[in-house]
Amino acid sequence: MSKLRVVHYINQFFANIGGEEKADYQPELREGFVGPGMAFNQNKEFADEAEIVATVICGDSYFNENVDSALETVMGMIKSQNPDLVICGPAFNAGRYGVACGTVAAAVNKAGIPAITGMYKENPGADMFKKEVYIISTKNSAAGMRDAVKKMAPLAIKVAKGEAIGASAEEGYLPNGIRKNFFEKKRGSQRAVEMLIKKLADKEFETEYEMPSFDRVAPGEAIKDMSKAKIALVTSGGIVPKGNPDHIESSSASKYGQYDISMFTDLTAETHETAHGGYDPVYANADADRVLPVDVIKEYIEEGKIGSLHQYYYATVGNGTAVASAKKYATEIGKKLVDDHVDAVILTST
């Protein structure tokens, strides 16, 4: 049987092209392995079944500043090699490299080609993409390359062959929210006692289940007189002006938009649409008021029930967007609303 064809994605630094001064390096396709690819090809478990046939190199700044076009070029290069598997990185703790690896691996996965990556758990790319792709948990610097390859190689082969993937603790990937059973070496009570001993000694321990955090927000003071209140609309339902001028992504949104609605009394299929990829867009596209209720607000203003509608509305896509990103957008949007003396906000989700 012929070996699995693997394409490796790396940045300019690991390709030995240069550091920050070369971070604007444009995508390049090279035959065979480059840099860390050697470590994969030399890994016995990997080499028995697979081979890196080509390497795609891209500068981190270039990728992150030109995401759409860079991704398109990179994807074209990857697909030209008809790979059975794509490996991105590992990116360790390099933030922009991590985001690039995550973006490429997620896009490759979506295109139906198995892909994995690796990075340090605090790399921003980890939080953004751990639910979409398998991200092997690595150390925080390139000194952890050997260890990373040792864990990435077997998982990559399994993913490529469509074999059953074990729990994160067994395979070494970052927990992705999918709970999977497996047998530990020690029974639960012993693990509990050992965990407690570590906790008592203020040593690092790893919980087996991360508690979901419920972010409690105390409600603001009630507005006594709505007829004088200035209301703003904010949505995670992806309502954007027709054509999506800011190219807000249909999932894992990397931005939000600020749009003027002062001239609208009713949103229509001609003026607005949704960028959201997580629900059936037909009804939102036909009448975006269903998600962003501009028409009703304007009626209420007419009737004197509400004072006014803020000139701008803010929109992003909630679909798979990392909580950290959402918090960042919300902080910025909140500040703008306060600065603009908005009294209350109607938040709509989908």
Partner: protein, 426 residues
């Protein structure tokens, strides 16, 4: 309080003319034992059967599992307040028929689950597949109320375990395990530098088929209190819990509580195991507040540095678990909690019905919704028709070849929340 457990390894159970324990085999005179069980007028008939490790046997629906033990010396007798008179147990010597168990089955309600497979995929998930099991199948008199039926089956199991246990009263134990809990004062003097740790044992206490008994007292009627670990080894805590097979604590689990055993293993070395606090899981929210307040208060009063908290059951107890954890942590006592998960068949849903940021250290017994494939086995002990309800019902499906695809939650003890098993999830 000091207890010695005399371990008598058991490798087989057989029916015979005389009930006795000899060379690692338990011989049972079935007629004699049946007559004893049928002294209870609530029962119309009883059948006995034996299931050994590796046999192509399925036991269902399992109500309780009990390890036969007998008091050799020391105050009281096994299962005080229920089978024997009320007396403080937990000291002296107790003989343990290790490797054997009494398993009760009874169709108290029509939907009851609880499977022990002695071989195949299911056997990997239940610790009871490793034991020689004497199975007691009880049939009630007509028209018996559910509460009375539950009690009759519960007592039948305990009586049987007591009967078998007594056969080993004069047998020389192969190995002696010693467990001792000293007074608070002595503990402080002997291990001044070791962290003080207690075990908070939450008991199922919600109502019919959801109860636990402490020295015969219904746990939902009781306030949080302190018990010595060795009392539990002598049967002070008994299970009346028959729902949610995978994460109910059988009487076997109480007798062999793994947290107690593993804390004793570290006692005097890395920690000072102070004792056990038992608390309940009532349905009434005011009871939950009161019980968790008391738990935290006792942890504080015992001067603890750390506590391990284990829960029992699904849904409602998650709230008690989180309340206990939060309040104990608020007293400056570090906690580790043990639970299991219902994260959906795909593992993508939220695992617990409650959560709090204070629960930073969690051990899990696995996702009970995960699906397993149980092969068709040659023999079913108990009530085979229950398979149709499990299979045709909420948590499984019967395949053409007679095998069952079911969620792990149907397997007795599979995701135990005392940490009895190695199964976990990430």
């Amino acid at each position: 309080m000091k207890l010695e457990l005399g371990i008598i390894p058991i490798s087989d159970i057989q029916f015979g003319p005389e009930s006795k324990v000899e060379n690692g085999t338990i011989y049972v005179n079935a007629e004699e034992l049946k007559a004893l069980i049928l002294e209870d007028e609530a029962l119309q008939s009883v059948e006995l059967d034996i299931a050994r490790p590796g046999e192509s046997v399925r036991i269902m629906p399992v109500k309780d599992v009990i390890e036969p033990r007998v008091k050799v010396s020391g105050e009281g007798a096994m299962f005080p307040g229920v089978i024997s008179k009320v007396a403080t147990v937990g000291s002296g010597r107790t003989n343990v028929l290790r490797g054997s168990a009494v398993v009760t089955t009874g169709k108290i309600v029509g939907f009851q689950e609880g499977i022990i497979d002695m071989t195949g995929e299911g056997a990997k998930y239940t610790p009871f597949s490793q034991l020689n099991n004497l199975v007691v199948v009880c049939e009630p008199v007509d028209g018996l109320a559910k509460h009375a039926h539950e009690k009759a089956v519960r007592l039948a199991g305990l009586k049987t375990a007591d009967y078998i246990g007594k056969l080993a009263k004069n047998i020389e134990a192969e190995e002696i395990e010693t467990y001792e809990t000293v007074s608070v004062k002595e503990g402080l003097q002997r291990w001044p530098d070791l962290p003080r740790v207690a075990y908070v044992l939450m008991l199922q206490s919600q109502g019919l088929l959801h109860d636990t008994y402490v020295y015969g007292v219904d746990a939902k009627q009781s306030l949080t209190t302190v018990i010595m670990p060795t009392e539990i080894m002598d049967g002070a805590i008994l299970s009346g819990n028959c729902v949610s097979a995978c994460d109910k604590n059988t009487t076997y689990h109480h007798l062999n509580n793994p947290v107690i055993k593993d804390l004793f293993a570290q006692h005097g070395k890395t920690l000072n195991f102070v004792g056990v606090i038992i608390t309940n899981e009532n349905v009434y929210l005011a009871d939950k507040m009161r019980s968790s307040d008391w738990t935290a208060k006792l942890c504080d009063w015992l001067g603890l540095d750390g506590a391990i908290v284990s829960q029992e059951g699904f849904g409602n107890p998650d709230t008690d678990l989180i309340m206990n954890c939060k309040k104990i942590e608020a007293k400056g006592v570090k906690t580790v909690i043990i639970t299991d998960e219902y994260a959906g068949r795909d593992g993508a849903s939220q695992s617990l019905a409650d959560a709090d940021a204070a629960a930073t250290a969690v051990v899990t017994g696995g996702n009970a919704n995960e699906v397993i494939h149980l092969p068709k086995l040659d023999k079913v002990i108990g009530y085979p028709e229950v398979a149709d309800i499990i299979a045709g019902g909420f948590d499984g499906s019967l395949q053409a070849d007679g095998s069952i695809i079911a969620e792990l939650q149907v397997i007795t003890g599979a995701t135990n929340e005392m940490g009895f098993n190695t199964l976990s999830a990430r």
